[in-house]
């Protein structure tokens, strides 16, 4: 079967796997966003804590994904949970780092004026610092998302849902019927999904960046 014929026949299966893949990624990045931004806010006034948090979460990225997925099986068994957990661990670093950078880069005179007007710490964070840091924070989430799309494919190793299944199946049956087509479709699907999500972020960025700080 040619690749075109294969796609014509299997497109709906591929689509379902693509959607599952996107779900796993978005759930993981969502959780990582909450954790990452919270951590950034907590550690911002404590240089030592900040350095430690960045080092720890950064170290996560050096663990080969295959190994991390495997390590999480005893905790989460098989399926989506270990896949999502691993992705969260990877996604925290880019989000945390950009959140820290973003909050730090808010101009000192703006913060000074806002404090001088009597904004509380919370008010300052919510009405001044987070909105101004937002483009940088959002970019961190975007990087985490794109990165996670690729890593999530490895999640098939722990029976995680998504396009990784096609890739792993195909590789395992190499030489068999449609093995190459499966692998190819999985890889292509991952690339297309990454592209779609990236475009999604361009749109979100347009919609959520306040007009006064758009470049």
């Amino acid at each position: 079967m040619s690749f075109a014929e294969y796609l014509g026949q299997r497109w709906s299966d591929i689509l379902v796997l693509g959607i599952q893949h996107a779900q796993v990624v978005l759930i993981a990045v969502g959780i990582a966003t909450v954790i990452g931004i919270t951590m950034a806010v907590v550690v911002e006034h404590h240089p030592l804590a900040r350095r430690t948090a960045l080092t720890l979460t950064g170290t996560m990225l050096t663990i080969p994904s295959f190994a991390l997925f495997g390590l999480l099986i005893p905790v989460f068994s098989l399926g989506a949970p270990p896949a999502i957990a691993a992705l969260v661990l990877y996604a925290i670093f880019p989000i945390l780092r950009n959140a820290v950078t973003g909050l730090e880069s808010v101009p000192a005179d703006v913060v000074d004026a806002a404090r001088g007007m009597g904004l509380s710490r919370r008010g300052l964070l919510l009405t001044v610092r987070v909105p101004l840091a937002w483009p940088v924070v959002l970019n961190g989430i975007r990087i985490a998302t794109i990165m996670s799309v690729g890593i999530a494919a490895i999640g098939a190793a722990v029976a995680g849902p998504g396009l990784g299944r096609l890739i792993f199946d195909g590789l395992a049956r190499m030489g068999g019927a449609n093995a190459l087509n499966d692998t190819l479709a999985g890889l292509l699907g991952v690339a297309v999904l990454a592209l779609i999500l990236d475009l999604g972020f361009v749109l979100i960025s347009r919609l959520t960046t306040p007009r006064g700080i758009r470049v």
């Binding site: 703006v110 004026a113 001088g116 007007m117 009597g118 700080i213």
Partner: protein
């Protein structure tokens, strides 16, 4: 600037009581054992070279900096007894970099403190309109703009409007016009003085610019390094009687002449002027000896001194002009007497150069002519 206060004593609005601030890691204190009182409704300027502790002193008033020792009172209340955020909402704060929130419109920036205070939306909108008008910005044109769409001067106008939003009795201003080019700075200073005439805030104003201090200050505290006050006095007394060499060198030369720029013509005793109608003057010619100061008028409009004749230029000034301007006019006209008109163009009298010489004294600056005499000036201007 304020009128002479007679009778009731001035009310203290801000009081610093032996306040010190030592930053960790610095051997010398930034501010040392400083005491200062600011009365309600006056502009007190903190003046001094860079790094002498002016900003530190000002920021201890709204607790952006906590003193190492000493007490600060605002309206009789020890500021450490009040929640710092609540305190700051009652004190306007304007800084050189303005610090408008770039992601909010002009309207939202001005409305920020009222919103924090929980004002209803309609009242905030109304207040924003009112303040934009007060600061000379068309509400329709400016309300929806973002800070980056404004010039430096417009940004600082919005900065002042924002500080005034909740109508605080006290304003702290840290070199607010320092980053503007000279022409805009001059205009904003003038506008600020006019504004102060209306709103009568208690203002602490930091600057390193002596001319700005003289122009705006009711009183000026000259700082020397280490946050100590070298002299705390009216601009006039500062110019005329600098307390020591440091103050004298900081002020620069020409103090007595610059003093004239602080004094209004209306503050000096004027001499009476007789008027002669133009038609009468023509018919009598120069036969009759004219009275000492008689001016020839046509339909109420002064034309020339009768003594000098129609060809001699005449120095004419308004009573609201400064003595400096009056002398300048007199010099230009080669005339040692200037005719003084009031704001409506009516003849008030005439000012002689000799009168200026006799009355150029710091204690006379800021007084109305009628107040000159026994009893001396009020305790503060």
């Amino acid at each position: 600037m304020s009128d002479t206060v007679t009778g009731e004593p001035p009310r203290t609005m801000i009081r610093l009581d032996r306040v010190s601030k030592a930053y960790p890691g610095l051997d010398a204190a930034a501010v040392a054992d400083l005491s200062l009182e600011v009365y309600a409704g006056e502009i007190v300027v903190l003046l001094g070279p860079s790094g002498c502790g002016k900003t530190t002193t000002m920021r201890m008033i709204n607790r952006l900096i906590e003193p190492t020792s000493g007490r600060v009172y605002v309206d009789g209340e020890d500021v450490t007894d009040v929640d710092a955020d609540h305190l700051r909402r009652r004190i306007g704060y304007v800084i050189q970099q303005v610090g408008l929130l770039p992601h909010l419109t002009v309207g939202a920036n001005i409305g920020l403190v009222p919103r924090t205070l929980g004002w209803p939306r309609s009242r905030i909108d109304q207040r924003v309109t009112e303040l934009l008008e007060l600061l000379g910005l068309d509400p329709d044109a400016y309300r929806q703009r973002y800070p980056k769409q404004l010039s430096g001067g417009e940004q600082q106008r919005v900065g002042v409007a924002r500080a005034l939003a909740a109508d605080p009795p006290v304003m702290l201003m840290d070199e607010p016009f320092g980053a503007l080019d000279p022409i805009i700075r001059d205009r904003l200073q003038d506008e600020f003085l006019q504004l102060q005439e209306k709103i009568r805030k208690t203002v602490v104003f930091v600057t390193h610019d002596i001319e700005e201090a003289i122009k705006l200050g009711d009183r000026i505290a000259v700082f020397r390094k280490g946050g100590q006050i070298a002299q705390f006095d009216t601009p006039a007394r500062l110019l005329a009687q600098p307390a020591d060499d440091f103050v004298a060198s900081f002020i620069g030369s020409g103090g007595s002449v610059r003093l004239l720029g602080l004094q209004r013509v209306s503050e000096l005793p004027l001499e009476p002027v007789a008027t002669v109608d133009a038609a009468t003057a023509r018919s009598t010619g120069l036969d009759a000896e004219p009275a000492e100061h008689s001016v020839v008028v046509d339909a109420g409009r002064p034309l020339y001194w009768q003594r000098g004749g129609a060809d001699r230029p005449m120095a004419v000034v308004r009573s609201t002009q400064t003595v400096f301007e009056a002398l300048d006019t007199m010099l230009a006209a080669h005339d040692e007497t200037a005719l003084v008109l009031d704001e409506d163009g009516r003849i008030r009298g005439c000012l002689r150069a000799g009168t200026v010489m006799r009355h150029a004294h710091p204690d006379e600056v800021g007084r109305t002519a009628s107040a000159v005499g026994p009893g001396g000036p009020g305790e503060w201007r």
